[in-house]
């Protein structure tokens, strides 16, 4: 299912801290599943050495991929500077995405950079599962809310909080979530680890299912090198799971926070 290919940049919107890239695959590619990621070569030569794993923010058949990501270092910086017409080498789709057989009502919770893959998740739920998700988004400031328009274009009206109050209500996800939560909600979330931990607690307290998308630095990205593990628990049994293979999505109750 995962392939290696070079895709052309057809759109680039790069800010100081975040970037949006739309890439066109040269031929039809298999549809990624929400929260699956691609490994992008983030330089011209051996430095930066490792590929950068980025989750799909939007996908249109047969091969249009949108990535929204934070500019954190030299790799993401290089990617953010790729201009229209330039090519980027990709490997993917990889990883275990969200379990889309959601019995209850999907409640999408995104924090900061975690908002990106939820756009695709929303699109997928609407188109393929015919479910209309509730969407709750939080960020530090308005500029960090990339993807908001994309949700609107899908016909959704996310509830938004920003820490500085520059958009939506002033505050954190934890300020507004309890009021939004319903008895048959299933939480699907992506964002900073403290936010995910909070969601795992509130889900457990309310006996709700909660899936979280984690991230880790990766080398091989295919499950071979065991570099990207995160501690998980199965009842009492502790072990390490690979974020690139068993993940990136995990049941919140199985994560060792």
């Amino acid at each position: 299912m995962s392939e290696s290919f070079k895709a052309k940049v057809i759109f680039n919107n790069c800010g100081a801290k975040m970037a949006t890239l739309v890439l066109q695959a040269p031929k039809p590619i298999s549809s990624p599943s929400p929260a699956q990621f691609y490994l992008l070569k983030a330089g011209e030569f051996f430095d930066p050495f490792l590929r950068r794993p980025l989750s799909v923010s939007q996908f249109e058949e047969p091969g249009l991929l949108t990535f929204r990501f934070g500019i954190k270092g030299r790799g993401t910086s290089w990617l953010a500077q790729r201009k229209k017409g330039e090519e980027i080498e990709l490997l993917g789709p990889l990883g275990n995405g969200f379990d889309l057989k959601v019995e209850g009502h999907p409640l999408l919770v995104g924090g900061g950079l975690g908002i990106a893959p939820l756009v695709y998740l929303a699109q997928y739920l609407l188109e393929k599962e015919e479910k209309v998700p509730k969407v709750v988004l939080g960020a530090g400031t308005q500029k960090d809310l990339r993807g908001l328009k994309a949700f609107r274009r899908l016909g959704l009206s996310p509830q938004v909080v920003t820490e500085d109050g520059s958009y939506g209500k002033k505050g954190m996800i934890s300020d507004i979530l309890p009021a939004i939560l319903d008895r048959d909600d299933e939480i699907l979330a992506c964002g900073p680890r403290p936010m995910l931990y909070y969601l795992s607690q509130i889900a457990a307290k309310n006996n709700l299912k909660c899936q979280v998308a984690l991230e880790e630095v990766m080398a091989c990205g295919v499950g071979a090198c065991l570099g990207c593990v995160t501690p998980v628990k199965n009842g009492e049994e502790l072990s390490y799971a690979r974020v690139c293979t068993e993940g990136p999505v995990f049941e919140a109750s199985k994560v060792v926070w």
Partner: protein, 302 residues
């Protein structure tokens, strides 16, 4: 070009081997190319009991390379012999080199005995893994212990015996000679170099074990020098590795004295690296009119 090579008792269809710890159990990369096209696959280091490995973070990128502190995470030799290896052999036809690591000399022997009569093509003694607190590192930097563990394993197995050398020593040729004296058939070098990184925000080492292993193109010149020196010191076939990214690197190692080469970190950079190296070697042979790759071994010494 005839890419076949004779690594002592081990005959390979080509000199391209995957390095331990970088290719999983061989199946993870199978969706990209048939592992059967490789000279051999070296699996992740096997220990007597399953090891869960070090807590994250296990990886840090460095200039033209990476540091890893995985900690020999593996399901144990039992599970390998009974489940993983038979399953692999059912689907793929390629020699499997079993890399083994013990906390004591006795454990190396015990693991080797469990692999006898199995379907592995060779044993590779990991005396140089710098990530394990006990054993491993201690054995490989000491010529006496190197010779001792090699000899003890040699006594208990007739499988081709590879000893993997660590570069974290004063003189790698001393260790190479000790392994040869102990009865090794083949030497593989180099393992990772000791390195570290510090987290500026936390003002502490990034890794729980403080130091970690450095690999990738950054270490290639050190690896190449090690192969060159060891070739002159011992009369054993060598597997050269350390930052090999393409066929040009592979050729340099062969000219330096390696009979075969192993590819590790390059797999992360490009999962098709091994395949491209094999194709590149063939192209080189055609272009230069060389009929056998083995004719190039050690030519840089002439």
């Amino acid at each position: 070009m005839d890419l076949t090579v004779n690594l002592g008792p081990l005959h390979l269809q080509n000199p391209v081997i995957t390095a331990s710890g970088t290719f999983g159990w061989g199946e993870e990369y199978a969706s990209f190319f048939d592992p059967g096209s490789l000279g051999a696959v070296t699996v992740k280091g096997l220990t007597l009991k399953p090891k869960s490995g070090n807590p994250p973070p296990r990886l840090v990128e460095t200039p033209a390379g990476l540091l890893n502190s995985v900690g020999l995470a593996n399901p144990g030799v039992d599970k390998f012999v009974n489940e993983i290896l038979p399953s692999f052999k059912k689907h793929y036809n390629v020699p499997v080199i079993a890399n083994i690591a013990g906390d004591t000399v006795e454990e190396y022997v015990e693991i080797a005995e469990m692999l006898n009569g199995g379907k592995v093509a060779a044993l590779e003694l990991n005396l140089s893994c710098p990530n394990v607190a006990a054993g491993g590192m201690a054995l490989g930097i000491d010529p006496f212990l190197t010779e001792k563990v090699t000899a003890k394993v040699r006594q208990k197995t007739s499988l081709p015996l590879i000893v993997k050398l660590t570069p974290n020593v004063t003189d790698i040729t001393v260790i190479a000679k000790a392994a040869a004296n102990g009865g090794a058939d083949i030497l593989s070098l180099i393992n990772t170099l000791v390195g570290m990184d510090i987290d500026l925000e936390k003002q502490k080492p990034v890794f729980a074990r403080k130091t970690a292993g450095l690999s990738g193109p950054a270490i290639r010149p050190i690896a190449l020098a090690s192969v060159f020196k060891v070739y002159e010191a011992v009369n054993l076939p060598l597997i050269g590795m350390g930052g090999i990214m393409d066929e040009k690197d592979a050729l340099k190692f062969i000219l330096a004295g390696a009979t075969a080469i192993a590819v590790g970190s390059a797999n992360f950079y490009d999962p098709y690296s091994c395949l491209k190296i094999i194709e590149g070697l063939n192209r080189y042979g055609r272009k230069e009119g060389i009929s056998r790759i083995s004719s190039l071994i050690g030519r840089a010494h002439q």
